[in-house]
C-alpha cells in the first residue's frame, strides 16, 4: 500500500506508434525523393538484410547465444522462394511460407544441438552448418543450379497490383520490416523474451526460476532462422537473381557485424547497424581497396570500446541526461498460494542421499526432513557438503544415490525448472540476479514460474511482483537496475524473486553472507515475517547468532554426513558439533 516516486532510466514511451510512424516516414521519403535506381536497390538490400539481422537480435541480443550461420538461413529462404516459385510453380505467398518453414525447421535442428553444447562449441556447429549449406548450394546442381545461381525470380502482387517497380517492392519491404521490428520489439517485453534475457544473464538462476532453458534456446534459434529465411526470400524476389556466394560464411560475419555495430540488444540499434553497413561501402568508396580491412578493424575497435554498439552508447548517454518519473504502488499485500499440505506434514524428505565427485564423497548417505511452516537451518563447517545438498535438492546436480520427496512426490533427479514448477524456490550464496534487468523485472520472472497460481487474490504477475518487493521493503527501487543496488538490497531482491513464485519450500543459501550487523537484524525480522506468512524455509547459514534466533530446527553436516539434528539448544551444545567447528584434538609438540 505504499506509494513512492522514483526516478529511473526505464523507457516508458509507447514505441509501437513510433515505429509505425518511422515506417510511414521512410515510405513517404521513398515516394517523394527522386531516388535513382541504384539507391533504391541499395535501400532494398538494407531492408531485407535488416530483417535477417533482427533474427540475430533475438538469438544473440536477447538469448545470448552465438550463431555464425545467419547467411545460411538467409540463403535457405532465398532458395526456397526461388525454387518454390520457379520449379514447383507455387505462388509467391505459398513459396514465402515454404521459405519460412524450411529455414525455421533447420533453425530448430541447430537449436537442438545447443541442448548439449554452449559457447565455442555452438559457434563451431553453426559454422559447420553454414559450410555445409554453402557446399550443397554450390554442388547440388540438379536442385540448385550450382554456382551460376538462379535468375528470373518473380515478384508478388498485392491487391491485384504486381510489384514490378522497384519502388513498389521497396515499400512492401519497408512494411514487412516495420512489422518485424515491432514484433521483435514486442517480444522483448513478453514473457518469452524475458525468459530469453534471464537465460542470457544467468542460466542457472533462470532454470531455478522455472525457465526451461533448452526449450527457450531452441525457440530463439527457430525465430532467428525464420527471420533469416524471411529476409532471404524477400531479397531473392527483390533482386530476382541469387547465387551461392551471396550466402557464404563471410556474409554471416557481415550480418553479425551489422548487429553488433548498431547494438545487438535493441531493434533500433540493429536496424541502424544494417543501414550503416549497407551504405558504408558507398560512402567509403574512396577507401575501395582497404574498405574491408577498415571494416575488420572496426569490428575489433567496437568490441574494445563500444561493446554495446552505437545504440547502446547513445542510450547510455541519454540515460545519463534524462530521468523519468514513475509511480509504483503495491495494490495488495503479499499472499501465498493455497498450501494443500497440512501443517507439520513433511514438505521435504531426504533419504540416504549421496553425491560423489570422483572419489570425493561430498554427501554420504545423508537424511533429513523439513516439516511445513518451520525454519529449518542446515549448518556445518566449510566443505561439509551444505551447498552440494542444495544443488542436489534444486536439480543442479544429479545425486549418486538416494531419494528426495517433495510434498510426497519423488523428485530425485528432476530438472531445475521442473522443480521450480512444483514450488521449490531458492536463493544463491553468490547472488544470481538477472543483471540487465530492473528489480521489478527480476521479480516478475519469479512470479511467472510455471504452475504459479496467480489469479486468486494474487492478481497478475506484475502485481504479485510488486507485492513481493513491498514485502522486502524495496518497492521504491522497483525500476532500478539490480546492479545499481547495494549488496544487501540485492540479496533482498533475490528473496523477493523467490517469494513471488509462491514457493512451497524456500531454500536460502547463506542469506547473511556479506551483510553488516544492521542488515543481519533486518534479515532475522524478514525471516520471521516470512514464517508468519506460512512459508516453509530451509536456510543454510554460517552465522550462528542468526541461526539461533530464527531456527526451529537445526541439522548439522560434517564430511557429507549428518552429525546432529534437533532444536538449537540441543544441537549447539552437542560435543560432536563443537568439535566439528573448533577442531577436536590439540597437537602435541613433535619431539
Amino acid at each position: 500500500m505504499t506509494v513512492t516516486t522514483i526516478s529511473s532510466a526505464s523507457n516508458r514511451v509507447p514505441k509501437v506508434p513510433l515505429f509505425v510512424l518511422a515506417g510511414a516516414i521512410a515510405i513517404g521519403l521513398v515516394l517523394m525523393l527522386p531516388l535513382d535506381g541504384y539507391t533504391v536497390s541499395i535501400i532494398m538490400q538494407a531492408a531485407t538484410y535488416a530483417i535477417a539481422v533482427l533474427g540475430l537480435t533475438v538469438v544473440l541480443g536477447y538469448a545470448g547465444q552465438i550463431t555464425l550461420a545467419q547467411a545460411a538461413f538467409f540463403g535457405l529462404g532465398a532458395y526456397s522462394l526461388a525454387l518454390g516459385t520457379l520449379d514447383l510453380g507455387l505462388s509467391f505467398w505459398v513459396a514465402l511460407a515454404l521459405a519460412v518453414v524450411v529455414s525455421g525447421a533447420f533453425g530448430a535442428i541447430l537449436g537442438l544441438t545447443s541442448v548439449r553444447l554452449g559457447g565455442h562449441y555452438l559457434a563451431m556447429v553453426t559454422i559447420s552448418f553454414q559450410q555445409i549449406v554453402t557446399l550443397v548450394l554450390t554442388n547440388w546442381i540438379s536442385l540448385t543450379r550450382g554456382p551460376d545461381g538462379i535468375a528470373g525470380i518473380g515478384r508478388p502482387s498485392i491487391l491485384g497490383r504486381e510489384l514490378t517497380s522497384n519502388v513498389d517492392y521497396l515499400i512492401f519491404s519497408i512494411v514487412v520490416l516495420t512489422l518485424v521490428i515491432i514484433s521483435v520489439w514486442k517480444l522483448k517485453s513478453s514473457r518469452l523474451g524475458r525468459r530469453m534475457e534471464a537465460m542470457r544473464d544467468n542460466e542457472i538462476a533462470a532454470s531455478v526460476t522455472g525457465v526451461n532453458v533448452y526449450l527457450t534456446k531452441v525457440i530463439s534459434f527457430t525465430i532467428c532462422a525464420v527471420l533469416g529465411g524471411l529476409g532471404g526470400a524477400l531479397f531473392a524476389s527483390g533482386f530476382s537473381y541469387i547465387s551461392p556466394d551471396q550466402f557464404s560464411f563471410a556474409e554471416s560475419i557481415v550480418f553479425l557485424t551489422m548487429a553488433l555495430l548498431g547494438g545487438v540488444h535493441s531493434v533500433i540499434g540493429t536496424a541502424l547497424g544494417t543501414l550503416l553497413l549497407v551504405l558504408l561501402p558507398e560512402m567509403l568508396r574512396f577507401l575501395r581497396d582497404i574498405y574491408l580491412a577498415v571494416y575488420g578493424l572496426a569490428v575489433i575497435l567496437i568490441m574494445i570500446f563500444m561493446p554495446d554498439g552505437i545504440w547502446g552508447f547513445v542510450t547510455l548517454l541519454s540515460d545519463k541526461l534524462f530521468h523519468r518519473i514513475a509511480a509504483r504502488r503495491a495494490s495488495a499485500p503479499l499472499k501465498l498460494a493455497k498450501n494443500e499440505t497440512p501443517s507439520s506434514a513433511p514438505v521435504l524428505e531426504v533419504e540416504t542421499l549421496s553425491k560423489h565427485f570422483g572419489g570425493v564423497k561430498a554427501l554420504d548417505n545423508m537424511g533429513m526432513t523439513v516439516s511445513a511452516n518451520e525454519i529449518h537451518a542446515l549448518i556445518g563447517p566449510n566443505g561439509s557438503g551444505k551447498t552440494t545438498l542444495v544443488n542436489v535438492l534444486t536439480g543442479l546436480y544429479k545425486p549418486t544415490s538416494g531419494n528426495i520427496r517433495f510434498n510426497g512426490e519423488t523428485i530425485t533427479g528432476m530438472a531445475p525448472h521442473a522443480l521450480a514448477a512444483r514450488g521449490l524456490a531458492r536463493t544463491f550464496q553468490n547472488i544470481r540476479l538477472f543483471r540487465s534487468m530492473t528489480c521489478l523485472e527480476n521479480v516478475i520472472l519469479g512470479a511467472q514460474r510455471p504452475g504459479n497460481d496467480l489469479t486468486p487474490d494474487g492478481g497478475n504477475a506484475e502485481a504479485r511482483a510488486l507485492a513481493a518487493l513491498a514485502f522486502v521493503d524495496l518497492l521504491d527501487r522497483a525500476d532500478d537496475l539490480v546492479g545499481d543496488l547495494p549488496y544487501g538490497h540485492q540479496r533482498k531482491v533475490e528473496i523477493a524473486r523467490a517469494l513471488a513464485a509462491s514457493p512451497r519450500l524456500l531454500l536460502l543459501d547463506e542469506p547473511a553472507a556479506g551483510l553488516n550487523s544492521t542488515e543481519k537484524q533486518q534479515l532475522v525480522e524478514l525471516l520471521q515475517r516470512m514464517k508468519a506468512l506460512g512459508l516453509t524455509i530451509l536456510v543454510i547459514e554460517h552465522d550462528m547468532p542468526l541461526v539461533e534466533q530464527v531456527a526451529d530446527h537445526i541439522t548439522v553436516l560434517n564430511f557429507g554426513e549428518r552429525i546432529a539434528n534437533g532444536t538449537p539448544a540441543m544441537v549447539l551444545r552437542d560435543q560432536l558439533v563443537i568439535n566439528a567447528y573448533l577442531g577436536e584434538t590439540h597437537v602435541h609438540a613433535a619431539t
Binding site: 572419489g359 570425493v360 563447517p381 566449510n382 566443505g383 547495494p486 549488496y487 547463506e510 553472507a513 556479506g514 553488516n516 550487523s517 554460517h542 552465522d543 550462528m544 547468532p545 541461526v547 539461533e548 564430511f559 538449537p568 539448544a569 549447539l572 551444545r573 558439533v577 563443537i578 567447528y581 573448533l582 577442531g583 577436536e584 584434538t585 590439540h586 597437537v587 609438540a589 613433535a590
Partner: protein, 240 residues
Amino acid sequence: MPLLELRNVRVSYGRVEALSGISLMVEEGEIVALLGANGAGKSTTLRTISGMMAPTSGEVVFAGQRISGLGPEKIVRLGLSHVAEGRRIFPGLTVRDNIMLGASNRRATRRELNADVEEMFALFPDIRPFADTLCWKLSGGQLQMAAVARGLTARPKLLLLDEPSLGLAPLIIQKVFEVIREIQRRGTTVLLVEQNANMALSVADRGYVLETGLLKLSGKASDLAASDEIRAAYLGGRAA
C-alpha cells in the same frame, strides 16, 4: 621492526566491504594464527597481503617495504609465499613439477631445484612415492602436503597458510600441524588462517580473531585458547 605489518587495511569486493580497517603485525620467527568464522575476512586478509587483492586504503609493509599494490608476481619474489585456499595444485603436472615451480620466484639451477625438491620430500615423506604422479590423482591430504611443500620451495621469509586443515581427516590434520612446527623450527615465519581454532592455537605463538571484517580479539595463543569468546565467535552466544 616486525616482518609484516598491516596498517588499517580496508578491502572491498565490488560493493561489499570485506575488511573494514585491519591492523596487525607478525614478528620474525613467530607462528601467528588468524581465526574467525566463515566470511569473517581471513582469506581476504591473506589475499591482500600476497597481492591478489588491492586494498582500498591502508598499507601492507613487508620487511620494511610497502608492498600493497605491487601484484603477486613481485611480492613473492620478495620472499612472501602464499599457500592459497583450496590448495590450487596444478592438476595436470606431477607432484615433483608442482613443487619445483614453487621456486619460480627466484633464480635457481636445475641442480639446485632438484636438491630443493629432495629436501621437501624429506620433510614430507608421505608424498615421495607420488613424486611422478599427476596431481589430479592425489587425495586431499596429499594435495595439502604438496601445496605446503610448493610454498616452501619459494624459500620464503614469511609463509601464508590458508586453511591447511580444510576437509582433512583428523590424523592428517595432526601431521600437517606437526609440519608447521617444523617449518617454524627451520626459521620460517608463518601466518596461519584456520577455522580449526583449537588446533591452530596449539601451534601458534599469538593469535588474532576476526569478525565480519574487523579484529575482535588478539593475544597470546594460550590466553586465547582459554577464553570463551573464541567459542562464541564461532558458534554464537548460546554455545559459550
